[in-house]
Symmetry: D2
């Protein structure tokens, strides 16, 4: 922590700040300039609130120079994390992985139709919601256990891994036999109790960035899972909230290279939620690959006009197949291939 004192700070004020820093466990270095005294607090703590010092008399400003996360930081594993699955698939390696499927599991017929088509086009992971977080209490809330069973069956039939969203602690046990990756949605990115429980699980967690979460907050949330001993965390950009309302969210493509710099965890992109509009999914999926994404999550539905949720952002199977062709052309520009 660096503390810049005000130009007129008294010696007494400076001493009080030093005492507080020492009490918080820091070793303190002092630089005294003509006008300004600057204090550097050095130590290995990550759990402190810089505002505690900021509010002291005579302090001008305070900056923390260590990140509040440790295990999620690039330094912890400079070579990067590759999440490996039993069938040989890897996320974070040389190949870019495409995960696709409907927003919600609606019926066996729907799920199997879509699964077959995405598998043929080259997807390797099947996505689909069994439990749905809906902003209205009157909306379709998912098929639950029945949906999980269908996902597993479709995944096995078409040789796809399965990812699905977990919304609360009691669902973890229920989902464990049926899915390969737990997805934590944007609204739960700071559901710390849920994250702590997922740290005890031994399956990968795909953690989506909250719509107003900073990169630091995203990595702090990943830290909750990692600190529990589960090191297989995959991060995902899915759009942030800005002043612009033409799209549902503004997809922050720059999050991809930034997270790659700050963290060793694989970074993926969800252009379906990132834009909320079918006609913008393909351009943003291509942009994500061009910016270095390790995987894509894409919603596909064979009859989007009849989807029970998010039909407006679901691609038709043919659009998805076309997109697969486009990203196969782009991947070599970033030294990658499609898995």
């Amino acid at each position: 922590m660096i503390v810049a004192m005000q130009d007129r700070a008294s010696e007494e004020q400076i001493q009080y700040v030093i005492d507080q820093l020492v009490r918080m466990g820091f070793e303190v270095h002092r630089s005294t300039g003509a006008l300004k005294t600057v204090l550097g607090g050095v130590g290995s703590q990550t759990d402190f609130d810089t505002r505690e010092i900021e509010m002291l008399a005579g302090v001008q400003e305070v900056h923390r120079i260590t990140s509040p996360y440790r295990l999620a930081g690039r330094n912890f594993r400079p070579e990067g994390t590759i999440v490996k699955f039993a069938n040989g698939l890897e996320i974070g390696g040389k190949n870019i992985v495409v995960m696709a499927g409907p927003c919600s599991v609606e019926s066996r017929e729907q799920l199997f139709t879509v699964s077959e088509q995405i598998a043929q086009a080259g997807a390797r992971v099947l996505r689909g919601g069994a439990f749905k977080p809906r902003s209205s209490p009157y909306s379709f809330q998912g098929l639950g256990l029945e949906g999980l069973k269908l996902l597993r069956e479709a995944g096995d039939r078409f040789n796809l891994l399965v990812i699905s969203e977990v919304m609360e602690i009691s669902q973890i046990e229920l989902m464990l036999p049926y899915i390969d990756i737990f997805q934590v949605g944007a609204r739960n990115m700071q559901n710390f109790n849920l994250l702590r429980e997922l740290g005890k699980v031994r399956k990968p967690i795909l953690l989506k960035r909250g719509i107003s979460a900073t990169f630091e907050e995203l990595l702090c949330s990943a830290e909750y899972v990692l600190a529990g001993g589960n090191y297989e965390v995959i991060l995902c950009e899915r759009g942030i909230r800005t002043f612009e309302t033409y799209t549902r969210n503004t997809m922050d493509i720059s999050a991809i290279p930034i997270i790659h710099k700050l963290s060793h965890l694989p970074m993926t992109a969800d252009p379906s939620h990132g834009t909320g509009r079918r006609d913008k999914v393909a351009p943003m999926a291509r942009a994500s690959v061009a910016a270095g994404a390790d995987a894509l999550l894409i919603e596909v539905h064979h009859q989007p006009d009849k989807a029970l949720s998010d039909g407006a952002q679901s691609l038709y199977p043919q659009q998805f197949a076309d997109l697969m062709g486009e990203i196969r052309m782009i991947a070599p520009a970033v030294g990658r291939t499609i898995a």
Copy 2:
């Protein structure tokens, strides 16, 4: 729902949109102008996604004209909701209620010292966290059950009601014997499973606006609780995330008159979290009262430099007493008194 067709939309496209609206349960009115056809979909549904129509061929834009919430809307109870407690205190009535206390319950000595001082200054409700949502897994996470017992004891001793935050479903049962109001924090505003369970409880819920939640989303979340049969919901502004980083959040004072217009539920303000800085709490508390707030939540600590959380935004007891004097002067300008 209003659907504006593109200027060149074909009759076939228009018919397809009409068919979809009918399928969704709407009665359709059609206005054909020289250039433009506009379709009005009228009905009593609240659960639909306008983007489903927006994506159809020939559609220019779609607007919903009914809110997605019903029970939370002002129309449902035009005279406004007053939440009444056994000791005669009312939130949403003529009197403005002040809730105060430390961020976290840290010890008996701390809690009793602060409680006595805020009660003397005129607070009527004691706030204090027993379970703490912390962005870092390494931070102090609260005293849990021990904290709840201390809160009840202090509340009873100094004649204060007690409010404390609930973070997950399993805590509800635990908290029920000790607290008078359940607080749902900003990060859990869209934890729909938690909200649904709180709809079954028969104690008031104070629901804080998420840091990037629209008014519509806040009222949809309130709807989850109301739809469960618990009509005693109190809303709270506690700052939103904007581009400005000087303060932790930007407190949106305009939320107070806006929520009063859109909803019948009492609207309160938390200037401590809204600003994150002790020196900005009093101006924003005064502003909240001047804008019509029904209650205030204010963090107070007798030794904020030693607080285990959020000391930087906690008032000293004397500052709190001064503030009480100021808002007693302001309340009559909005036809209110301090409870």
Copy 3:
């Protein structure tokens, strides 16, 4: 400037950074901890870009510890600036000044009707646009010189000072004989050429915060005027752009105490533009006074339904008179009176 080096930074990298800092004119202090080296660059420059250092090899992060403005900072005049007018009116002193009038000057009849009513209710400054910045090229663009003359005449008749917006350099000369305060609108807050010219004028400038301007940027823009020798600058909050679209802008009431802390310049509030809705003007005007505003700008129109611009946010004269009564009650709570 404080430079935190990465944990593994080499001695060579550290030396290169030190050399660059010296080249930029800083005296450098070095603190070497077990893990981390921190460099403090001390000097009196204000014109540098911290990113130049941030991009160097081995650097983790950089913080500036001096503000990029000098003359606008509170340190420059700790006792605060009071802008004084020939008729004895003061902005920034003990009295709160109310400026009111129509959005645009539309006609003699309109202007004189409104001016008389606001003067009776207690306004001391007449506002009104002669040149209008309009986002559409097809909108009413103001009466120009004719409007200026009417403003002067109405001001003289009803004993009101006159404020009006200047949009480009060529208008300064034209406006000088007719107005008492130049207003710079939010869209021109970073029109640096205009600001530089206004630094040469010897009349006060009311500078509005841009809708996405940080406090630092606002004060840098004020610095342009001050650096030209015009020290009579008045700042104004008029709403910022956030994700919420219910109101046109989100009025940041906290800007008032924050600017008072950072700068010596008077700080005022414009709740008409800050909310864009007539029914929210009074609550936000009251909140501004409660938060410590030195003056208010309020749009008033006797027939807002017929206004050529911004009728939706203009108060009826009776609403304005009622509001004056309310703020007279609030002012004493912050140790002020209404001018």
Copy 4:
């Protein structure tokens, strides 16, 4: 315009709204449902403020269904605009054009060195600032006329067109002999007086999106230029302001396909300002091409550590050459080639 009346709106209120719409020049269609009356106002006006109706008694909400711009809309020229230059270069056609160069023109040696290198790598337009908008009055403000002359000379020598920023009306005449494209910076996007003057010029205008400008506002600003008779307008995304501060701005890649849908004007991207960090320029440049950009603007400097402005976001010439290779690989995926 569509007006949804409140459920309890009286017949008198409905009639008053109809009268106002007629007064504003609309033909009115009325749909009366069981609960709700909806009014459709149809006409060819573009200059009205929906809030005027929104504030009337009995009105629930109002939506405009025609855009406030005409000439900038896709409908005006569905096939798209191609801006053509005398040397055969086209922006908006099949080829993607790369514009590159230093942030500021600093000296003949600097400009010629950079120009040669970017020309060799494949750039077709030379960018460079002669007049610089700087947030601090103490920063380097550009070489002015001298800079313009150097730009022209370098452009002619290396067979590059020249683009440079115009900041105020008086500079237009001065720049005309030296440059091929006028650039309007983000801070001047709503400098309507400047835009109006540029409408009279017969050279292309590259108009950058303001950091908090909606798409509608960007197109309204383009309309000012088009309405003056200058149809050669090129739009540019250069980052918007969001809550995230890790990058200077958040580059909104989705703006590219969105503007292509809403408007016929070519859409370009400036990843240098869009990110503010050298290491993020290449990923975002690649993403822009993958998303369909018609041109790129990229800052390049042979000695960025010594640049007088924005060195931190300038690529080294070798990095620029590498990037050219990458985008040449990506362009075919979107059916394009590099000019």
